[in-house]
């Protein structure tokens, strides 16, 4: 019980809530869209952190859960007329199921082999979906504009998906903290430090790893449904874009893996910076800064990974002893 009074938990939760609720109170649609992108990234990073930060298994294929969940949800909405909340849960459940099925098999691999296997899984699922007729094959699934009517029109539907992403990111933070401070979480962290030693100490590692994988897959499954519902269509290339996985990894590295606040700060910093660079009107000489946005983002990553490998939160904890009691 004591762990729920920790200031680090409340700090993280407050950051997410403040970010999420600002557009709600100002009713500013532009802010809402930026908020959606950031909260989506935060939830992706927090969920990936469960398998990567806590358990020490680097997954390059995290986007597979996002894509498959998104497809399942769109299928439920389009073919069965399912309401959005049900579709969201359906998407999460399908991804969790895939993780459960895969977990026992590929989590036997360690290090680079596991990372490569996750890329393979993503490619395999993408190819499968591109040939799977109920999911529309290569043309994907498209929603009629009228689908938004039952939610009060497109404007209200966009707000609804936004409330959804706030709820998921708040849940993600609470859930991630719960795992981190639970006995189960301790087991995961002992696997991260030394898997063989953890086994000797009584952690049933295959089960623990599989459960961590399932938990980390459930959230992206739900997020995918919200994103593709909002966009009105889903295609294999968008759903299983490897770049998105890698971006999530970078966000965690940026903020600090294995911490609660790290992925939140990393995702926020990364997405906000990319967003600002993309839409900036500033000029470098006679060229717009926005033409350089990838160069600048890349340089920034390089600087951080070279000089602050523990990420921002990790670095702060190392440098300032008193922050170790505040930041988790």
């Amino acid at each position: 019980m004591k762990q729920w009074l920790h200031p680090g938990f409340w700090l993280t939760l407050l950051i997410v809530l403040a970010l999420g609720l600002a557009p709600v109170f100002t009713r500013n649609a532009g802010l809402r869209e930026t908020g959606f992108t950031i909260l989506l990234a935060i939830s992706m990073a927090v969920s990936l952190n469960i398998i990567m930060g806590y358990t020490g298994y680097v997954s390059f294929g995290h986007v597979v859960f996002y894509g498959l969940g998104g497809y399942t949800g769109m299928y439920l909405i389009d073919t069965w007329g399912a309401p959005l909340p049900l579709a969201v849960l359906g998407g999460g459940a399908t991804s969790a199921l895939l993780a459960f099925g895969l977990g026992k098999a590929i989590l036997r691999l360690r290090g680079a082999y596991f990372a490569l296997a996750t890329i393979g899984v993503n490619e395999a699922v993408r190819t499968f979906v591109a040939n799977f007729k109920p999911f529309g094959g290569p043309t994907g699934i498209e929603l009629q504009f009228s689908v938004y009517k039952q939610y009060g029109g497109a404007a209200d539907a966009l707000w609804l998906t936004y409330y959804g992403v706030i709820a998921i990111s708040v849940f993600a933070v609470i859930f991630s903290y719960y795992i981190k401070t639970s006995k189960f979480g301790l087991g995961l962290m002992s696997i991260r430090e030394d898997e063989d030693a953890a086994e000797v100490m009584g952690v049933i590692t295959p089960d623990a790893k599989t459960m961590a994988f399932v938990f980390s897959a459930f959230l992206p499954g739900m997020l995918g449904v919200l994103f593709f519902f909002k966009n009105g269509n889903v295609e294999p290339a968008d759903a299983f874009r490897l770049g998105f996985s890698i971006e999530s990894l970078v966000m965690i590295m940026l903020g600090g893996q294995g911490t609660l606040l790290g992925p939140v700060i990393g995702a926020l910093g990364y997405q906000r910076l990319r967003g600002l660079l993309l839409t900036s009107d500033a000029m470098i000489g006679s060229l717009p800064l926005k033409d350089f946005q990838l160069v600048i983002a890349g340089l920034l990553m390089l600087v951080i990974i070279l000089f602050i490998p523990a990420g921002l939160v990790g670095w702060l904890r190392q440098k300032f002893a008193f922050l170790r009691r505040i930041l988790v």
Binding site: E33, L278, M283
Partner: protein, 435 residues
């Protein structure tokens, strides 16, 4: 000590970058203001500029794929649109019924060729940049995402580079398509074949397994069956395929025509493989690749290959609105130093569609401009423009048709592109059979 200095340096770099990024939005007008001035010298109608009328600026917003896989096509489309804007502004803008004159300015962001931020950026264009009209991103998938925002905020959006029919069957009322829809990409090839040889009956369809190509061949197959053709093979290949031998082996030896393809690289490779394997089809028509000048790099394997194009510099339409093809080509070359592709022509045509709509409506009011675009029926250098106005297919392009080119040999034996269909635009007879 050294370590912490490094760390401090890193933090400073991040902070200064972040500040720079938030900081300086003040200088934005400079490049936009220069461009029309530079174009004024080359625009044909510059001297018509009225002396002193009340001026309004209409902002046209869009995202372009400045980075990522769609960069080349998107940049050309962007250039075409910019040329239109510069020429209209240099010619004095568009006069409205109340005597004011509308000039255009554009506002655009990079969508990085993916969907992640399309809705975010379009919302920003509408709510913060106060865009009056929208142009779609390049490609159907991205255009679909942006259409939700356009429709929600009641903004007219002209799509260019977004060929899939399905976008216009989703119930939008403000989205208009400049391109011939995907369903009509290859059906003209079949008409061409029927015209060249009434006895040809067996068709093999081999296509890339992606949204666009699948949409195209689904419509092609239905049309072929309706016309009494026998589709002896319909086979998809993965994007990025380079070895076509297994698929070619499945094509029956007595096939009359092979149709399909996907995008540039695979289409070119497939044509080469067909030639290398000595496939004896009398007629081959492939998507996207043949109209590109670099298609001829495969040498004699390119001979006889037919391909649909949204627009060809060779095809001379007699426009009743906007510049002639020759004028467009000349202005485009002067501005960007290269031959315009159909992507560039499409970008220009999107501007013409808006311009005509605003002129007819005599105002910038969305309902009035919508009614005007609904009733557009014009011949431009890009071809015929007319939209479906039924509830089921609103905004679908029904006027424009594809131009079909074929690689032929000139007197000296060099490969040249000729327009062979439609008959009214042809520059040479169809070579048939090619084998």
């Amino acid at each position: 000590m050294k370590r912490s200095l490094f760390n401090l340096f890193a933090v400073l770099v991040i902070l200064s970058l972040a500040l720079a990024a938030c900081g300086a939005p003040a200088v934005e007008e400079a490049p936009a203001a220069e461009a029309p001035a530079a174009a004024a010298t080359e625009a044909p109608a510059a001297e018509e500029a009225p002396a002193a009328a009340v001026e309004k600026t209409a902002i046209v917003g869009f995202t372009a794929s400045l980075t990522g896989k769609l960069n080349v096509e998107s940049t050309r489309q962007n250039n075409g649109f910019k040329l239109w804007m510069d020429q209209v502004n240099a010619a004095g803008g568009v006069p409205l019924a109340d005597g004011t004159v509308v000039k255009f300015d554009s506002k655009f962001y990079d969508d990085e060729s993916n969907k992640d931020r399309v809705q975010e950026l379009y919302t920003k264009l509408v709510t913060e940049d106060n865009a009056d009209f929208l142009i779609s991103p390049y490609s159907s998938g991205l255009a679909d995402a942006s259409a939700v925002i356009a429709e929600q905020y009641g903004k007219i959006m002209v799509t260019t580079g977004a060929a899939s029919d399905s976008t216009y069957q989703k119930g939008y009322t403000l989205v208009y398509q400049a391109y011939t829809p995907a369903s009509a990409y290859l059906t003209g090839s079949l008409d061409l074949l029927a015209n060249a040889d009434a006895a040809a009956k067996k068709i093999a369809i081999v296509h890339e397994n992606d949204k666009f190509s699948t949409d195209v061949v689904t419509a092609l197959e239905a049309y072929a069956i309706e016309k009494g053709y026998e589709v002896v093979l319909n086979e998809g290949y993965d994007s990025g395929t380079t070895d076509f031998a297994p698929i070619i082996n499945k094509i029956p030896a007595d096939v009359d025509a092979i149709m399909g393809g996907g995008h540039f690289a695979d289409g070119q490779q497939f044509a080469k493989a067909l030639s290398d394997k000595g496939v004896a089809a009398k007629f081959i028509s492939l998507l996207v690749a043949p109209p590109e000048p670099t298609f001829a790099e495969i040498g004699d394997a390119a001979f006889g290959i037919v391909g649909p194009s949204q627009w060809e510099p060779l095809a001379a339409f007699a426009p009743d609105y906007g510049p002639t093809g020759a004028e467009f080509i000349e202005a485009y070359k002067a501005a960007f130093g290269e031959e315009p592709s159909y992507h560039a022509a499409g970008g220009y045509a999107a501007g013409l569609i808006l311009q005509k709509g605003i002129e007819t409506a005599g105002s910038l009011d969305v309902e009035a401009v919508k009614a005007a675009i609904d009733s557009e029926d014009m011949m431009t250098f890009f071809g015929h423009i007319k939209f479906d106005t039924s509830a089921e297919n609103h905004g679908l392009q029904v006027g424009h048709s594809m131009v079909y080119v074929q690689w032929q040999k000139d007197a000296s034996g060099a490969l040249v592109k000729q327009v062979v269909w439609p008959l009214e635009g042809k520059t040479a007879e169809t070579v048939y059979p090619i084998k």
